[in-house]
Amino acid sequence: MRLKTSDSLIGVAFITPAATLFLLLVAYPLFQSILISFSAINTMTLKGHYVGLANYLDILQDQEFWRTLVNTLIWTAGSLVLQVLLGVGFALLLHRAFPGRALARSLVLFPYLLSTAVAVLVWRWLFNDLYGILNYGLVHIGLIERPIAWLSRMPEAMISVILVGAWKFFPFVVIALLARLQTIPLQLYEAARIDGASAVARFWDITLPQLSGVLAVVVLLRSIWDFKEFDLVYLMTGGGPGIGTQTLPILVYREAFPQLHLGKGAAIAVVMLLVMLVFMLLYLRQSARGDER
């Protein structure tokens, strides 16, 4: 394309609205976030002063922070593993031709598009200790003797949150894999067949290697998103019982709002960002590689 001044002016004009919104709503807040993390500020009065690294030192000595970090890792890993297993399984099932496939795909994808608030309401109703159908069913088939209070006991609460997280987010894995499965050339399978590969061998030698690139990207993306997930965990248990299912985003929210420690909340958010930066850089690298291809 031409390199005329009038031309690059149009280019700059076109990017300006997006850049402005980005600077105002992302870059500047991010910068401010770091500033706040070095101060003690009351969330209500917004009055405060510079305290240096005090917030960070405070966090590092705080038992609750470490417990929350561990919780976050358990939630992220547990839910991620289930999402990938369910995702791969359903992608393969839904890739086959069978009667009503389009409808089946829609049904499976739907939880992902549903508001987390709705998903949580439905599951809390299913998990309800007195009238929930889950307890009723489990008692009925004799797996448990009496109804369980799923969301107010450990480790049941964490298990429940992980299960609901897996249910809500595994369709993302399915969509990504289905898109990729469609692009695997049929000739590969035909060639393998001629070479005498069984169905199982074809899965291991063709399908899985072909999926590995997308799978890597999906795992990175989902671990980033699960790590920062607030809505689902907070709405399921509020972080309880006690701080049994409290994850880092919930801690940020609690410090900043109910407890009014804006500075400390910001410091936790910054620490969170630092942890995630590793994954984000990995993802950026992976997607740059994808771009080259």
């Binding site: 394309m1 031409r2 390199l3 005329k4």
Partner: protein, 361 residues
């Protein structure tokens, strides 16, 4: 009606690669000029600079007396047919044809009238309300041509417009383009890497390589007197044979000599070549059609015979290297045969082996 003049045109890209170097050329008013060369030779870049889609790093382009480098494409009064046709996929054939007129502010009725009239001459009348993707390759080609014709531009630019057509359609479209040019008489600049297209359609051909103009001339000039080794090798099919050797004077007569090959040059050329006699460093170019399987110049062992029906393409191994011969007739040789070779001395091209330039003769 306008001529196109390139003056010391130079184009370098941001990454430092040079696409065009000191390119000067005048395309006469009403001429059909073809830029011919392999991909990456700068022909498309030159065309795009003519269109205003690229800006030269330095140099100037004139349409008639008017410098155009600073004009946007839409104000140069040109039309361009793209290799991909670039038909607007969301518009019907009629809307595609009308688009240039719409941008000129032509009234709706007038637009429709001209589009319909043009469609009739291009045999597109039945397709006016179709979208491009529902057309065959040949039909898309016609629409692209129609969109170029409708605004009656001063200069037509065609960027490999036939390369996506099948062989039969390509031949047919070549004939139609020749007729079209004759009918409207506008200046046309055509870009191709296909020498057949260049030879059959052009008034003149500009052969390009590595960003430099190699030779400009009529198709016959290019074929008969290639200025250097590149032009000689690029034009002609099968490609010219090259044999390295020397020129020696024998009884006042110039003789080209290579390993196992000798061609005595005709008298007229001998005189001019006398001063160039040397033992080596001469490259002889021999077109396959100027060789025959007769005694005279040397001999070779046949490797492959490709029977075309009316002639054989014979590849033979000689001490001077592999030589391809177009041998008229059927079953003129068989693999393994030792065959005599005769070069038509009138048609022998001589180049300096080091520079590749044609030797004066």
């Amino acid at each position: 009606m306008v001529s196109v003049r390139y003056q010391h045109l130079h184009k370098a890209f941001g990454d430092g690669s040079v696409a065009l170097q000191d390119f000067s050329l005048e395309v006469a008013d009403g001429e059909f000029l073809t830029f011919l060369g392999p991909s990456g030779c700068g022909k498309t870049t030159t065309l795009r600079m003519t269109a205003g889609l690229e800006t030269p790093t330095s140099g100037e382009i004139f349409f008639g007396e008017r410098p155009v480098v600073d004009l946007p494409p839409g104000r140069r009064n040109i039309a361009m047919v793209f290799q991909s046709y670039a038909l607007y996929p969301h518009m019907t054939v009629q809307q595609n044809l009308e688009y240039p007129l719409r941008k000129q502010g032509v009234a709706r009725d007038e637009r429709a009238r001209r589009a319909t009239a043009l469609a009739a001459t291009l045999q597109l009348d039945a397709l006016l309300h179709r979208r491009p993707k529902h057309l065959s390759g040949g039909q898309q080609q016609r629409v692209a041509l129609g969109r170029a014709l409708i605004r009656e531009p001063e200069v037509f630019l065609l960027d490999e417009p036939l390369s996506n057509l099948d062989a039969e359609l390509r031949t047919q479209m070549r004939a139609e383009l020749i007729q079209l040019h004759r009918r409207i008489g506008r200046t046309m600049i055509y870009v191709t890497h296909d020498q057949v297209e260049a030879m059959t359609m052009s008034t003149r051909i500009a052969v390009m390589s590595k960003g430099e103009l190699q030779q400009v001339g009529t198709p016959l000039e290019i074929y008969r007197e290639p200025r250097n080794r590149f032009v000689a090798a690029f034009v002609g099919s099968p490609a010219m044979n090259f044999v390295e050797g020397g020129i020696e004077l024998r009884d006042g007569r110039a003789v080209f000599r290579a390993a196992g090959l000798e061609v005595a040059l005709p008298d007229a050329r001998s005189a001019r070549l006398a001063g160039l006699a040397r033992a080596s460093g001469v490259l002889a170019g021999i077109r396959p059609e100027h060789l025959s399987l007769e005694p005279g110049s040397g001999e070779g062992r046949v490797l492959v015979v490709e029977a075309m029906g009316h002639e054989d393409i014979v590849t033979a191994e000689t001490p001077a290297g592999r030589i391809v011969v177009r041998s008229a007739g059927t079953a003129t040789a068989a693999a393994g045969d030792l065959v005599p070779l005769r070069v038509d001395p009138e048609k022998l091209h001589l180049f300096d082996a080091a520079s590749g330039e044609r030797l004066a003769c």
